[in-house]
Symmetry: C3
Subunit: 172 residues, 3 copies
């Protein structure tokens, strides 16, 4: 079976994670979940718990806020893996002042070389105008560039609005 890289984009509470999960649970009973969130406050804790309950008990969770490439490499070939989400990941890299381009290149190499079926979730954040805050503007630029790079290397790309996908590339 050829591996398939899938990219799911959407807004806040757009249903993008649930849609991404549904793509995977249709294909396997032993999915992996790579969680990028770092729980620092109650709001994040509630969000993480809600996502976990939604996923159900079949999923094996790996927490990796920074080095996604290294988290993905040891997983068994042909597994189905959900990476949720690249926006928290980018946030972590920026917050810790790490090398965004370097970690991105490592992730892209992993996508190219691994035998996993990887689905990545990310936020589209650049459709609300330009912020007055310089850091927010930088985040929007980096997120836009990251999303373009992942989309280019994915076999299929969906943009989710109100729980419903528009396929920008490939599809089901």
């Amino acid at each position: 079976m050829a591996k398939l890289t899938t990219f799911v984009l959407g807004g806040i509470n757009s249903g993008k994670s649930a849609f991404a999960e549904s793509l995977i649970t249709n294909q396997t009973t032993t999915p992996y979940y790579v969680a990028t969130s770092v729980v620092l406050d109650q709001e994040t804790q509630e969000k993480v718990s809600a996502h976990k309950n939604m996923r159900g008990p079949n999923w094996q969770t790996i927490e990796e806020p920074v080095d996604l490439g290294s988290a993905l490499e040891p997983l068994p070939a042909e597994s189905f893996v959900l990476v949720d989400c690249l926006t928290m990941w980018l946030n972590n890299l920026m917050y810790q002042e790490l090398d965004v381009d370097g970690y991105t290149d490592h992730l892209l190499e992993t996508l190219a070389q691994s035998e996993l079926n990887i689905t990545l979730v990310s936020n589209e954040v650049g459709l609300g105008g330009i912020s007055e805050n310089a850091l927010t503007r930088k985040f929007a630029r980096l997120q836009g560039t990251l999303n373009q790079k992942i989309a280019k290397k994915s076999d299929r790309v969906a943009f989710v609005v109100a729980g419903l996908p528009m396929w920008l590339k490939g599809g089901i």
Copy 2:
């Protein structure tokens, strides 16, 4: 004639209301308009007046900022009704600290049980990144959840950009 529930999503001044109106005026000469705006300042007054002028005199207007279910129930079966918009409605519920889930459930029951052709308009608000303001973040989460629920119960869903629809479900 079977009833049809339509959901029209879009951004600020995206042409979503005009598009939703065009779907209705193609079908009836006696449409109903359920307005959710509460006029508290001049900016809202100007927006409401501009929308009213655009609609023209055929429309019968019902003002209901909170209890949409109860506003819709008395309308004659098979009528065409435009609810504009769910973003102002959610704003009103939050501002008055009312039960968002309860009013949403009532609206969803009305959509399921009524014999009306209801078109609902709402804003997509979650594609501009995460706000620094906790209330804005809460609004974005609730709006996203509400939009998913309405989309799930609608027969057709359009996402409008620059006056042009992308059909996410059903269509014309």
Copy 3:
């Protein structure tokens, strides 16, 4: 050859400019680029330089921050022209307190009457919710209205997410 007006919409770093350029460089070796940016700070300077490097040396650049109609009129018939972007242009008009409607009408007349193949790039800015800042709200309203007017007069309209187009009208 009949002229073609194309409108490309997208978010921050969505790949909209690169996509618009690819539509033109497929068609001609002597494209024109109408740049609307005014370089007032280093951030803009870096963005302008990055765009210029991306375009390559074939493009003939015309800088016009305000009077797009007059900048387009002298260009040779049947040329391919990229106007990048209408969001900076609207920003310039507002910042200088110029007549947005008047300049927009002039641009629309030029689109209707010229024999150029014009591709216009603009930002979608209204999908991130309503700002607390009155000027930002005004900008979002004017940008939404402008985008609708340009889309209506264009032969084809694309909405770009993560470098990938969704055609709202016409297409390739």
